[in-house]
Subunit: 438 residues, 4 copies
Amino acid sequence: MEDINLHFTGDFHAVTSAHNLLAAMIDNHIHQGNELDIDARRVLWRRTIDMNDRALRHIVVGLGGKPNGFPREDGFDITPASEIMAILGLSLNYADLKKRLGDIMVGYTRSGKPVYARDLKAHGAMAALLRDALKPNLVQTIENTPAIIHTGPFGNIAHGTNSILATKIALKLADIVITEAGFGADLGAEKFINIVSRLGGWAPKAAVIVASIRAMKFHGGVPKKALAEENVEAAVKGFANLEKHIENVRNWGIPPIVALNHFPTDTDAEIKAIAEKLDELGVPWALSDVWAKGGEGGIELAQKVLDAVENSNAELKPTYDLDEPLEDKIRRIAIEVYGAEDVDFVGKTRKTLKQLEELGFRDAFICMAKTQYSLSDDPKKLGRPTGFRITVREIRLSAGARFVIPVTGDIMTMPGLPKVPAAVNVDIDENGVISGLF
Amino acid sequence: MEDINLHFTGDFHAVTSAHNLLAAMIDNHIHQGNELDIDARRVLWRRTIDMNDRALRHIVVGLGGKPNGFPREDGFDITPASEIMAILGLSLNYADLKKRLGDIMVGYTRSGKPVYARDLKAHGAMAALLRDALKPNLVQTIENTPAIIHTGPFGNIAHGTNSILATKIALKLADIVITEAGFGADLGAEKFINIVSRLGGWAPKAAVIVASIRAMKFHGGVPKKALAEENVEAAVKGFANLEKHIENVRNWGIPPIVALNHFPTDTDAEIKAIAEKLDELGVPWALSDVWAKGGEGGIELAQKVLDAVENSNAELKPTYDLDEPLEDKIRRIAIEVYGAEDVDFVGKTRKTLKQLEELGFRDAFICMAKTQYSLSDDPKKLGRPTGFRITVREIRLSAGARFVIPVTGDIMTMPGLPKVPAAVNVDIDENGVISGLF
Amino acid sequence: MEDINLHFTGDFHAVTSAHNLLAAMIDNHIHQGNELDIDARRVLWRRTIDMNDRALRHIVVGLGGKPNGFPREDGFDITPASEIMAILGLSLNYADLKKRLGDIMVGYTRSGKPVYARDLKAHGAMAALLRDALKPNLVQTIENTPAIIHTGPFGNIAHGTNSILATKIALKLADIVITEAGFGADLGAEKFINIVSRLGGWAPKAAVIVASIRAMKFHGGVPKKALAEENVEAAVKGFANLEKHIENVRNWGIPPIVALNHFPTDTDAEIKAIAEKLDELGVPWALSDVWAKGGEGGIELAQKVLDAVENSNAELKPTYDLDEPLEDKIRRIAIEVYGAEDVDFVGKTRKTLKQLEELGFRDAFICMAKTQYSLSDDPKKLGRPTGFRITVREIRLSAGARFVIPVTGDIMTMPGLPKVPAAVNVDIDENGVISGLF
Amino acid sequence: MEDINLHFTGDFHAVTSAHNLLAAMIDNHIHQGNELDIDARRVLWRRTIDMNDRALRHIVVGLGGKPNGFPREDGFDITPASEIMAILGLSLNYADLKKRLGDIMVGYTRSGKPVYARDLKAHGAMAALLRDALKPNLVQTIENTPAIIHTGPFGNIAHGTNSILATKIALKLADIVITEAGFGADLGAEKFINIVSRLGGWAPKAAVIVASIRAMKFHGGVPKKALAEENVEAAVKGFANLEKHIENVRNWGIPPIVALNHFPTDTDAEIKAIAEKLDELGVPWALSDVWAKGGEGGIELAQKVLDAVENSNAELKPTYDLDEPLEDKIRRIAIEVYGAEDVDFVGKTRKTLKQLEELGFRDAFICMAKTQYSLSDDPKKLGRPTGFRITVREIRLSAGARFVIPVTGDIMTMPGLPKVPAAVNVDIDENGVISGLF
């Protein structure tokens, strides 16, 4: 467990290194005569670090005079938000990886032309740094079943799923492959359907929606501290949130199964009430006791999934066509998947979308950056909010991943540490045994 | 080879992560109420990255308003210059590692009191991140002999040698252990004698000084482009540089052996002239043809080393006593080891040294940061310069390593990339084969 | 003319000095122990300079280490946008001036409480610096008639009119006082009615709207280069813009008179067409030839104004009541005065308005910052646009002036120089005669 | 008095405006295509403000993205340190003023060539802004005698004297002209002799050295709080400081007179002791009671001055020849005028001096920036220190003034406010009467 949570096989470090190599080569190019005439004010390629570090969100680099290059505004994103992480998760082989790395758009010239990583001849070395990271990592669960863990694009700011290569390998090795698409049907599943499955060329036979009565009570208005107390009414009210996720999955043409993560505090009355709601919707479901009992606790759920897969009539219906205008694609996701009324494109975002279409990115995927705490872009809007608008405050381009990334609400691509960082509780004893990681 | 040169076992990444975790915790502490009253202007702990990136030498972080913390001046050093790298190289076990990490002085409070990593409760998690990195790495040469590679503190800005743990393990496993102390007798050997050997508790039986006629010609005034041409006179003139290294080693009480790296362009006349100079000094020497012929080419040298070790009357005489004033220790190194006339302490460096003595660091080691291109602090002063002064322009403290670091001349703790970065020539083919690394 | 355009009586310099004294005292307070616990990230008081200097819009100050104070983000506004300029224009006497200066809110403490200029004891010295600047300046026109010029708050970013004191003095000295309220009925007049007249305690008897056929053609879609050509149709189309200004003035209960600034390029057909439109609306008007003929050219206009004043049944009807919520007041101006559909409060602006109401500023005046080139907040929307929304992207508070300032569209409080600055053409000869100012 | 101390005739504001106009034009030029290829890292022209504001010493401007220009490091100096102030004080007429303004070197191109204000066509407008400021200001003392006050270059960071124009006018109007050269013989007098008199083409007949027993006691080691107590010994000890000033004046070939400012706390014994020392040196002297008694109190001193002037055999002997190398000129001042042992040129200062000589500034004046609190560059070295070295840490060029400015010790060209700024005590009452200025 520590191995996975600390450095694992070093893939994140490799992504960080490849990312920052490109950043260093950009500043070096500007410093060494700037043959490409890169506009220091319009460098789009930020730096990256695998650390929650708010102080690095917005920085000024290149200070200290002539030997240190030209001052410019910059910032660090967390490694999972790096375009390199996305590219690594999407690349099918070394040639694909290298092409995508070369396609990264790093900024503009002073006359407004795009500059790509290949213009800096950075992509070969970047790919070399990623040589081992492109290979999926095989691990085993505590019950010794195999699992493939590969790449870590967070679902709120990136595409949120295991790598395509990992899934392809798994599909060759097993009868049934289960993959996780992080954070819910609004984020992980949306991206898994609209981006990853299209690129992977597959269609999922069924989708497990992981839910809990505890979470429903929270969405029903119960404060965190009171979640241990029975509250049937709130659970039923908060069920509206789950209902939207079920609807979304059905809209994509995939049969849903609900896994109810069983908490010791769930009461019979609560379970009964939610069971009734689920039955009303005709959705198969099971209590999951995997946390408490291991594989044993998931047998009923597994059986339901097997049934669903065997009888699946899944037919993938993505939310948008790739050749629609970028604005329309974003609007479709917001309205159809989130349930928003409409989208507000503030500042220069609409202008940026037009420029990107002119630069040839009209057919790009949309990779939303949105809070995972609400179906809306406001973490405080719980349950199944209606009448809300999504605010797109920034547009980023991941040209190598072919993603257009609308940054919505207050979502950030670099988190901060809490008042008491988890690190404070981590320790290692004289024998090298680590404690406090969980 | 790529494995060692790319990510190896991830030790550098672990050092980088541990280092930057502490940095993030400092800024987070200031942001979250600043209970310790850390003075944002006097944070000494910079950030680190394993990249040549001049744009990060001097930066401003924490911009963008209240959610991003307090703005302050900061910078990145290259990972080999990180105090964590030094600590890793000096720590004897997990307890020692954790203690040293906790001892790191990260800055001052507004009222001028020192703040340590342990005050932020950061050292446990940092040590956990270094769990595997503390373990030395066993590799094999292309002739399948074992070698232990562990930690990478560059000799011009750090202590320049393999870890103490690696050496201790080697000493238990082999009859003869050879270790490299980077960059010459002025830097690597000085620190190996004065810092590492004292901490390791050993005394080297002999010291191999690696030299080349090519380098002697360079020190004798020959421009790089003309080094392939015979120039006995210049070689003899440049021999003065080697002579100083030999003297230094003898002053430390250790018998030197000179390994003359044999280049195809060395002429018989040149070799003869240098051989005479070496014989005059009574120092054993051998031509080394290891680069061309492998182990075969080093047999004569190995024999000389064995002789020296067997007949050694080595008695370690460090350059300074630990309880001398910091200024005196620095001056001793400059005068006795570099051959300087004296030291200029500019700006606030003398004041800083006094403060450090008051804070209890009078008995700290001195770890000079100095160019490796000259015995002086000016890379243009070749041969064996005299009459020069060493300029100490900044004093840094590595409290966990118990190093006081005088930064001299123009030496920088973050290099920049050249006009054409090596990365431009690195590539990977469709089978994952890397080219262009050397 | 140079006297007025260069340094005049030094009032702008005095405003600049008083403004920057407060800024220096804030940073000094933070540096010297920060007894008030001012949050360096939430200092609202920027610096000011009487120069078009875009490089100063957004800066970081306090760099260079401990002796230079704490780094923080800051910026300069142009002097006419300074709150001090507004205060100077509104103050009735020294006591009022000093009170208002003391009331300036400079920022927040770390615990979120407001900090005022009086907390820093800065207002006495600031008032002393403004001693002479508070006195209105009497000048004469080139026909030797008196004019009082006092304070310079630009109408697009501030309240846009002569000082209250100047107008009060004029009202005591003359039968008829004419004052200019810069940039049109949407900006200058709106603020003159809703802010200045309420504070001055007067009601204008009539309002002269200065228009030109040239401008109407521009609003009718004619590009700048073609404005010299006859285009009756465009003039009539662009008349819609003037019509809105006339409506606005009438809505405030004031009889309008239109002054048509006569350009040599105006054709009879154009004048006839516009005259008909004005007659249709029943608004008195006259051609003004003052630019070409001096006072002589304004006699007809003057007669019309006298008639209007003598027969005035003006009854001031401000756009909003002071006790309405801030959002409502802003919305009223946008909808009723600009003709907008609604207002978009983006980012944290709505939250800021609520905080200001909680801090006791619900009854503050609204002083819009909006482009003068359009009735909307988009300089490209000419004529009388409809169906548009006003975007409030920032809320500023001038607590001493009791202004809440919604910053709309892309309006900036610090202009930049054009590609060829006017200064390039300014010169002085050996006798001190200045050329090129106009 | 307030008039002179607040805005006076606006000359400082005019200098500030002209200075900052040039700064704005530089950044604007870079922003608007940078036709001259100015290197943003090597702009030498800082900004200026007439305010003690340490937060502006070192700043980063041009932040906030493309519309705000290119980020770069910058800073503000206080207006008396502005090269414009120096130029204004040296210019003989409008043509000279304009030429000097055009000669200002603002920075370097990326290829290392100098860029001048005239290249930006800024000097005409700058001169226009200074039209009235070039004219000396006539005021009267409280005894109604005339005085000309013109320009304010502080003697510790600039050339420290009234303008040449003011002195020339005075010389035409009066039999005897007395001018003040700020801060002592080491600063004001040195510059008056070596710079101003050479440019003005005059030779002073005599020099009054203003001293006080109080100051001598301070230089003799008495802490400030104890200066009111009699201490003959300390006064005699501190006399060494005055002795050096007397020697300096004599070395320049000018007869000195000492004015002893009479303090109520001076005791007869102290006066007697100092009188003896002065008589020993054969220097004429008088007690001055002007502060207490007005002109009446200065009659004896005036008589001594008249005697000295009438019997003067003054023959001006400047410290250096203009055609000596820059380093030599600096060394001469340090050794001969300050009594230093030698000069340390740290960092890149020696290199800069060489570059300036190559650019044609070998014949420039030297205008030292040095603390006024000591004959050395260390404000703590009182009395007549010996054995000290002057540290030149930065070289600035005022090409329009033809000054090379060695910045020594810790002297700063932008002061900061004290813990309790004087402004805190300044107030204005309801009648506009200012209090607290002194």
